[in-house]
């Protein structure tokens, strides 16, 4: 016989909800920022995050409390994106990202702006636009590592790749992003630059 529930006594449903709010919902902003960069638009990002939270809540019993909820949620989000959104929002990669040999901006600016002051003149939207133009594998590495501050190991787990791959993608992604921002800054006249 089950105990009658008295008012004020937490039920299993309350517990589930309470732990989900405490451990999962607190990562809503992170999920949203990552979703925005993956899908490239706010409406799809909203849907992707909502779907991720639904899937996560349904699978909440599989999550081990106190472990890395953020990583767990981002893995769900990324799978949902690959399976359902990528096809309609962006085209799968056709370039071989590992063959991209990026240009080192610092070498070019050593004389003119060795402290990278020109970065400060670039507005938020321009930075986000430049990130959105990166190949998807670079974009997700940059967003997880540089925007959300996750460790190589966490990023590797979410992307299901070895840590060495995370390092190499981050290196290329950062250099490519720098080069885009550098070209933009030269175009805007923030710096002179010497790249033709």
């Amino acid at each position: 016989m089950t105990e009658p529930t008295t008012p004020g006594t937490p039920t299993p449903v309350d517990d589930r909800r309470e732990s989900f709010e405490r451990e999962a919902l607190v990562h809503l902003d992170t999920l949203y920022r990552v979703a925005l960069r993956l899908t490239g638009n706010a409406a799809d990002a909203d849907d992707l995050v909502q779907e991720t939270m639904l899937k996560a809540y349904r699978a909440w019993h599989q999550y081990q409390q106190g472990t890395n909820a953020k990583g767990w949620l981002l893995t769900i989000l990324r799978h949902a994106f690959i399976n359902e959104y990528r096809r309609r929002t962006r085209h799968p990669e056709t370039v071989d990202v590992d063959a991209i040999e990026p240009f080192a901006v610092f070498e070019d600016l050593q004389e003119e702006d060795p402290q990278g002051r020109f970065f400060d003149q670039i507005v938020d939207d321009e930075v986000l636009r430049a990130i959105d133009e990166l190949p998807e594998q670079f974009r997700e590495a940059i967003v997880l590592s540089d925007v959300e501050g996750m460790s190589y190991e966490e990023v590797a787990r979410i992307l299901s790749v070895p840590i060495g791959t995370v390092k190499s993608r981050l290196f290329r992604a950062r250099r490519l992003l720098q080069a885009k921002l550098y070209d933009y800054a030269v175009g805007m006249g923030y710096i002179k630059g010497s790249r033709a």
């Binding site: 919902l25 949203y32 909203d46 909502q50 939270m53 402290q115 930075v127 540089d146 390092k167 720098q178």
Partner: protein
């Protein structure tokens, strides 16, 4: 550690992903090598700039309401 080795560890150093031993070697190199230090500072400025520019966005309140409604019927 020479310049080439230090620069090879550049991002791992800035990301604090090196073992304490290698991190110490890189730091020692930077103390003695102005050109490498400048390059590390430039990359550090870039990473800080990136985070500052992108972290500001929060999920819209409407999305949170939608999710709470969907999950808990509120």
């Amino acid at each position: 550690m020479n310049c080439r080795e230090a620069v090879e560890h550049l991002y791992e150093y800035l990301d604090k992903e090196l073992t304490p031993q290698v991190e110490r070697e890189v730091r020692q190199h930077l103390e003695d090598c102005q050109p490498c230090l400048e390059q590390f500072d430039f990359e550090d400025a870039f990473l800080k700039f990136l985070q500052a520019r992108c972290r500001g966005r929060c999920a819209p309140p409407e999305l949170k309401r939608r999710i709470l409604h969907e999950l808990f019927g509120e």
